[in-house]
Amino acid sequence: MRSATVKTEHANLGQAILFLAVSGVILAGIFLSRRGRQLFIRRIPGLSAIDESIGRATEMGRPILFTFGLAWIDIVSMQALAILSHIARLAARFGNRLIVPLADVPLYTLAEEVCREAYAAEGKPEAFNPDDIIFLSDQQFAYAAGVIGLMHREKVATAFYFGYFYAESLLLAESGQIAGAVQVAGTPATTQIPFFMVATDYTIIGDEYFAGSAYLSREPTLVGSLVGQDVGKGIMLLLIVAGTVLAVLNKIMPGIFTQNYLAKWLGG
């Protein structure tokens, strides 16, 4: 049971150790991989669909749309930028028009950077049109209205949704569907996943989202990090199993196991 007493605003030892352990295995994965250790990633179907979907837009000669949802500058949009960078390079290579409507001004500046760099890296800096990176609105539904309008008017062939989405997820995805676009979506906003699953063609679930850049680029740092993440999740899983066993022992043999030591150690 939870007491109503004042709890510390700072980490206890258990939390600190858990943080260091999970961070440690991720960093270990990164350094092993950078040293040249070959690491494996299994197939993630939604992510494989990204390249195919760009191909479709090329065939149809119609634009690609990429949206971050309402994401602002943070860890979530950082990952989305990495995926945008990949998509922008392919778009530059195949001569697709890429439209990126945004809802956050600082992020807008970064997205423009990323696209400009991507076109330059493909040797086509002149093909980059800064007018296609559009700040629409930082108000949720004004942003959604703008994207809906864009999808219909520009006859988008492919739409990508990577970032943080709220209620606008289905508004955008269903409009894209009505406009006839093939759609790929991924977001750590778990409550929006079912709507993307229903309305888009490929959905990236949960932390497949954070696996995205590793999967697409096969950069050793990112692949190593992904393997380290697996070990980190393994640690959390083991803790859950251990905590459950202790909870059972506490019920069966309350004389010996007077409390759930693990729960206490983690400051629950």
Binding site: V22, I134, A167, L171, P188, T190, G206, F210
Partner: protein, 282 residues
């Protein structure tokens, strides 16, 4: 020296600080690219350290100056500072919007009148918003024939007549899209999809009287295990246990994924081109 200042002295301090800031960046600008790269790495490291050190260091320790966590009092000012700094980006968005729509009008592109509507809406919202907030009675004094009340009324039209209903209505379009998506795409081709559908049905029925009417014959007492079959109880149970566990499991994965991303940003291990500093073409 560093305390608050007032009157003319304040403006001297403000001017001097701004000048010093420009001077520092001017000096930095002439440093070699190698150094600028290093500066970016240091900024990332220090920025990432702030909230984490504050939290993972204990509240009190004898090693701290004065025995208290030195970062804790800075948490709130830091939050304010970030909000203010981000706030200064506001004109950037307007510049972009203004350029796009301005060009539409200048080149008389099809639908240019929509861009005019955009400007009218934008400018009147800014003007009347700030006006009703800061100069409630200045209007009459300025001889424009608009009293504070009338300014308020114009703002009311913009906010309660346009902004709010437009947003609420667009939001409610979801009701229709959910129905059309359900009809078009909710296909039961696999066991997975069947699981999703059954669970969705139970929850949808459990929330409304008509669903509860379906299982009204079943016992209501908590002691009887059959009461779990009442659709509202089944829906609640589905929500609070099964669905909760699934969401939680996904979130644990996301936590570790986000942690990894955060580590890579913090230690500048991320490949991304966007933070790299290159030789600038002069």
């Amino acid at each position: 020296m560093f305390g608050p200042k007032h009157g003319a002295e304040l403006w001297v301090y403000i001017g001097a600080t701004a000048a010093a800031f420009v001077a520092v960046f001017a000096v930095l600008h002439w440093l070699p690219v190698r150094f600028k790269r290093w500066l970016v790495v240091v900024c990332a490291f220090l920025g990432g350290l702030f909230y984490s050190l504050e939290y993972y260091l204990p509240a009190k320790h004898r090693w701290f100056p004065g025995g208290e966590n030195p970062l804790s009092p800075l948490v709130i000012p830091m939050g304010n500072a970030v909000a203010v700094v981000s706030g200064f980006a506001l004109a950037l968005g307007l510049i972009n919007l203004g350029l796009v729509h301005g060009r539409n009008i200048a080149r008389a592109r099809p639908g240019w009148y929509n861009s005019v509507a955009f400007f009218v809406a934008l400018i009147s919202m800014i003007v009347f918003g700030l006006w009703q907030s800061y100069v409630p009675d200045a209007a009459r004094a300025a001889g424009l024939g608009l009293s504070g009340r009338q300014v308020h009324r114009v703002y009311d039209v913009l906010f309660n007549g346009l902004f709010q209903p437009l947003g609420a209505t667009l939001f409610s379009v979801l009701a229709f899209y959910i129905a059309s998506a359900a009809f078009r795409a909710f296909r039961i081709r696999t066991a997975e999809a069947a699981f999703m559908m059954v669970s969705a049905f139970i929850v949808m029925l459990g929330q409304v009287p008509v669903g509860q009417w379906l299982t009204q014959g079943l016992p209501t007492s908590v002691g009887n295990p059959l009461h779990y079959l009442r659709v509202e109880n089944a829906a609640n149970w589905l929500y609070s246990t099964w669905s909760m566990a699934g969401v939680r499991a996904v979130d644990f994965g996301i936590a570790v994924g986000a942690l990894a991303m955060a580590l890579r940003v913090w230690l500048s291990l991320e490949r991304g081109s966007f933070f790299e500093v290159r030789e600038s073409k002069k």
